[in-house]
Structure formats: structure tokens, C-alpha cells
């Protein structure tokens, strides 16, 4: 069984062919109907594992004023291109109403002043984008828990869906996101109206953006217009619970 040159050549060719096969195989699998779903099973495992080790109420790390990023990066939509949003922005959101609807005992329609009057919180946290970068900002906002206390969700409500003002495609699909009730009632979950001590800039989601500090940036919907309590994602976009989720990103964005 000596390593003859023929055998060596055969082996090298086999390795090269194997490599090419691996690459084209991965491409084909990525585009198949079934394999991405197999890969996505890991999301459930990750979610369960994180729920197991991370306490329901565990807080995301908070920072000091010295850590704040000089400029908080705006990603995705920097200014929603819709007539309705522009009209609101032109009057400095004086006509803005935050709707709370769906599976609630008390639907609400709140002005920005009413949202600001809700029990709130100020926190300096790190924003982690799915792309890999992080920025640190000081957020002030109404606790989502306080809003839900007013609206009184029905027992069958399982998720909070955020309906936003930013059109995402040529068809005018408006951004949407959702979180579960564990995150909704979490102490650091806010509808933020201030960034770094100033009214939330349009580039960062004015007049209200969600903060869910233990998940990635795409969960933190900007330009929030309505909060909707639902029992399932059926009927919401493509059914995966969020705009980016319907493009293949994980619903649980804790990693």
C-alpha cells in the first residue's frame, strides 16, 4: 500500500473535487426548499438554551455617559418616504397618535405627551446590529409594561406586534416586528422618545422606537405607529413575526 504518485494524484484530485462539491453543495442547499428549515431548527434550540440560562428579568449591561458613541449610527431607514409620515414630521408629531389594539381590554390612542407621561426609564445601553457593529446610546422612553398595564392584554395574547411607518420596498410594505411577553414586560423594554438627552432624531426612529436590549438591532422597530397584541403571527406579513424574519432572519435575535 505504498503511496504511489498515481494514488497521490488521485487523492489530490479527489480532494479538489470534494472541495468543489462541498461549495456547490452548500449553494444548492442554501437555495433548496427544505435545508434552510433544517438549519433554522437551531434557532429553537438557541432560544430554549438562552431562556434556560438567562433569567427572565436579567438586565442587559448598562454603561456610563463616558461610553456613549459620539454619533449614534442610523441603519436601515433614515427617513420614511411616505406622505403620511412626512405630514406628521412636518408638524413635529403634534398629530401623532400611538394606537394600542388587538387582544386588549382597553384599546388606546395616545398623543406623544401622553406616552411621555407614562412611567419611564433612562438607560445607557449597547445596540448590537446583526451586521456585527455596536453603538452605545442613552435612551429615555416609556416602559412598554406601563403601556400594557393600561391596555390590559387578554389572557390569550402571546406577542406584541409593532406596526411602523417606514416603507421597506417598492410595494410600500411597512416595517413590522414582534416580541414575546417576557421581553414586553422586561424592565428595559421601552418605547424610546429621547436619544442622548435630545428628542429622538428621525434618523433613529422618531417619534418612538422600541428598545429590546437583549436582542439584536432589527428587533428594535423604529417609527412605531401602533402596538398590537396577538395570539399568533398568522396574518402578519409572511407569518414569521417580522419584516426581516420574513426575509430569513431569526425571530429570536438573542445571538
Amino acid at each position: 500500500m505504498a503511496a504511489t504518485p498515481e494514488r497521490r494524484r488521485f487523492l489530490l484530485r479527489a480532494l479538489a473535487a470534494g472541495g468543489a462539491l462541498l461549495l456547490s453543495g452548500c449553494e444548492r442547499l442554501s437555495r433548496s426548499a427544505w435545508f434552510p428549515d433544517v438549519l433554522a431548527r437551531a434557532e429553537r434550540l438557541t432560544h430554549a438554551a438562552q431562556r434556560l440560562v438567562v433569567g427572565r428579568a436579567a438586565l442587559a449591561q448598562e454603561f456610563t455617559e463616558a461610553d456613549i458613541s459620539p454619533r449614534f449610527r442610523s441603519n436601515g431607514t433614515a427617513e420614511p418616504r411616505s406622505a403620511a409620515y412626512q405630514a406628521l414630521a412636518d408638524r413635529d408629531f403634534a398629530d401623532y397618535r400611538l394606537e394600542v389594539r388587538g387582544l386588549v381590554a382597553q384599546p388606546l390612542s395616545l398623543t406623544l405627551a401622553e406616552v411621555r407621561a407614562l412611567p419611564g426609564r433612562t438607560q445607557i445601553t449597547r445596540h448590537d446590529c446583526v451586521e456585527g457593529w455596536s453603538a452605545i446610546g442613552k435612551w429615555k422612553g416609556a416602559r412598554l409594561a406601563a403601556l400594557l398595564a393600561l391596555a390590559r392584554p387578554h389572557p390569550e395574547a402571546r406577542y406584541v406586534v409593532f406596526r411602523c411607518a417606514d416603507p421597506m420596498d417598492a410595494g410600500g410594505t411597512l416595517y413590522y416586528e414582534s416580541i414575546d411577553l417576557d421581553d414586553a414586560y422586561h424592565e428595559q423594554t421601552l418605547l424610546a422618545y429621547e436619544l442622548n438627552g435630545a428628542p429622538l432624531p428621525i434618523a433613529n426612529g422618531a417619534p418612538l422606537r422600541l428598545r429590546v436590549e437583549r436582542q439584536l438591532g432589527y428587533k428594535m422597530a423604529k417609527y412605531v405607529m401602533a402596538v398590537e397584541l396577538v395570539a399568533s403571527f398568522a396574518g402578519i406579513g409572511g407569518g414569521k413575526g417580522g419584516y426581516w424574519e420574513d426575509q430569513g432572519y431569526e425571530w429570536y435575535a438573542g445571538i
Binding site: P70, V130, W133, G254
Partner: protein, 233 residues
């Protein structure tokens, strides 16, 4: 003279590990390409410039080949579980079967011969006879470093990038320098592992590619004859 070299468990876990490592590196580079810059500290926007800024890696080395972050994450976060599960199974096996104590922990003689082993490696002289059936000291140290330092660091720096896991114990990510430092360390460890694999494959090739490969597939290994100068290595 033929001998049994690698147990079935080690052979199976070796190839699972190899597949997972390759897929993790390639999908990891896909994820890196979504923001091809590295920083030190907690934040990318601290007022300090990045440590490193690249154009991004070419498509032939990423999974998928085109820019497709969502799919890269699916591959990466799936095979991360495969790597961790396989690694834990290997560790349990290596301890229970005494593979670790018997084959991987350097002996006193190994330590004494480390200088000669380095010199032999540099001159591409390799043990023959019975000594070829055992791991040499540099091989043992390299494997131990991968098993107990590099792979755990890959997992820990990966977890440190998770905003969910960052909240498990307050401030634990600061032990690594912050989330962006963890991302940088993840990148460095990944390429250190890639360098290990390159050296590993090189050594496999120069010490009898077919013989080594067969021993990791079927378990059968042919001891090379004693070297011509009669020195028993």
C-alpha cells in the same frame, strides 16, 4: 506492519469536527462581510478608528457565495451547535476512554525531547517505527491547545457577541475587553485555527498522506520503517 490507530469514535468525531469547522469558517466570513471591520472595546463607534478594515472576503471562501447574511447566520448558528455537541462528546470520550491521559498528555520523556522534536519538525524528519504510532510532543501540545484553548475561546467569544447571553452575568463580557473585542478575538481565533489546520494537513501530507488518511477513515495504520540512518526516533 499494520496497526489499529484511531478508535471508531475518534474517527467519526474527527470528520464531524472537520466538516463543522470548515462550514463555520466559511459562513463566519460571510457574517464578517456584513461589516468587514474590527474594533477593540464594547462599541464600534467610540471615536477611535477600527483596528482593521477590509474589503470583505471573496465569494469562493464564503457560504453562501454571494452576500447573504441571513443564510450565512443559519449555517453558522446551526453548525456552532454541531461543533459544541461534538466537542463535548469528544471530551467525555477522551476522558472516559483514557485517550486524553494515554495519548495526548505529554510524558516526562516528551518534555525532555521537545528541543529535538522542534528541530526534527523543522527539517521535516519524522519518527519511524513504533514511535510513529504515537503522537509526538509538538503534536500533543498542538492538539491540547486546540481542544482546551482555541475551541473553548471560539465558543466563549461567540457567546460574548450575543446580546442575550451578555445579560447572564453583569459585566462578564468585559473580561474579554467588550463585545467588539470579543468579535475581534473570535476572528483571530478562527484564523489561528485555520493556521493549525493548514499545518496539520501539511504534516499529514508529508508523513504519508494515504497512510494517515486511511488511519483516520478505517483506523488501519502502517508503521513506517525505521529511518535509514538507523536512529530510532
Amino acid at each position: 506492519m499494520m496497526q489499529r490507530r484511531h478508535s471508531l469514535a475518534v474517527r467519526v468525531m474527527h470528520w464531524i469536527n472537520a466538516l463543522a469547522a470548515v462550514l463555520l469558517l466559511m459562513s463566519g466570513l460571510q457574517i464578517f462581510n456584513a461589516h468587514p471591520a474590527l474594533y477593540w472595546g464594547q462599541s464600534s463607534y467610540s471615536g477611535r478608528p477600527p483596528l482593521l478594515e477590509l474589503e470583505g472576503f471573496p465569494g469562493w471562501i464564503t457560504i453562501p457565495g454571494e452576500q447573504w447574511l441571513a443564510m450565512g447566520r443559519r449555517w453558522h448558528l446551526f453548525f456552532a451547535w454541531v461543533l459544541v455537541a461534538n466537542g463535548l462528546a469528544y471530551l467525555a470520550y477522551a476522558i472516559a476512554s483514557r485517550h486524553l491521559a494515554r495519548d495526548l498528555v505529554p510524558t516526562r520523556g516528551d518534555w525532555r525531547g521537545i528541543g529535538r522534536s522542534i528541530a526534527d519538525h523543522l527539517r521535516l524528519r519524522h519518527p519511524a517505527g513504533a514511535a510513529a504510532g504515537r503522537y509526538n510532543v509538538l503534536q500533543k501540545l498542538a492538539y491540547l491547545a486546540v481542544i482546551f484553548v482555541l475551541l473553548p475561546l471560539m465558543a466563549i467569544t461567540g457567546w460574548a457577541m450575543s446580546p442575550g447571553l451578555d445579560s447572564v452575568v453583569p459585566h462578564w463580557v468585559e473580561l474579554l475587553g467588550g463585545r467588539q473585542s470579543a468579535r475581534t478575538l473570535h476572528f483571530i481565533c478562527a484564523w489561528t485555527l485555520a493556521a493549525f489546520v493548514a499545518v496539520h494537513v501539511f504534516e499529514v501530507a508529508v508523513t504519508g498522506l494515504w497512510n494517515n488518511l486511511r488511519s483516520m477513515i478505517t483506523g488501519r495504520y502502517r508503521l513506517p520503517a525505521e529511518s535509514r540512518d538507523g536512529r530510532d526516533a
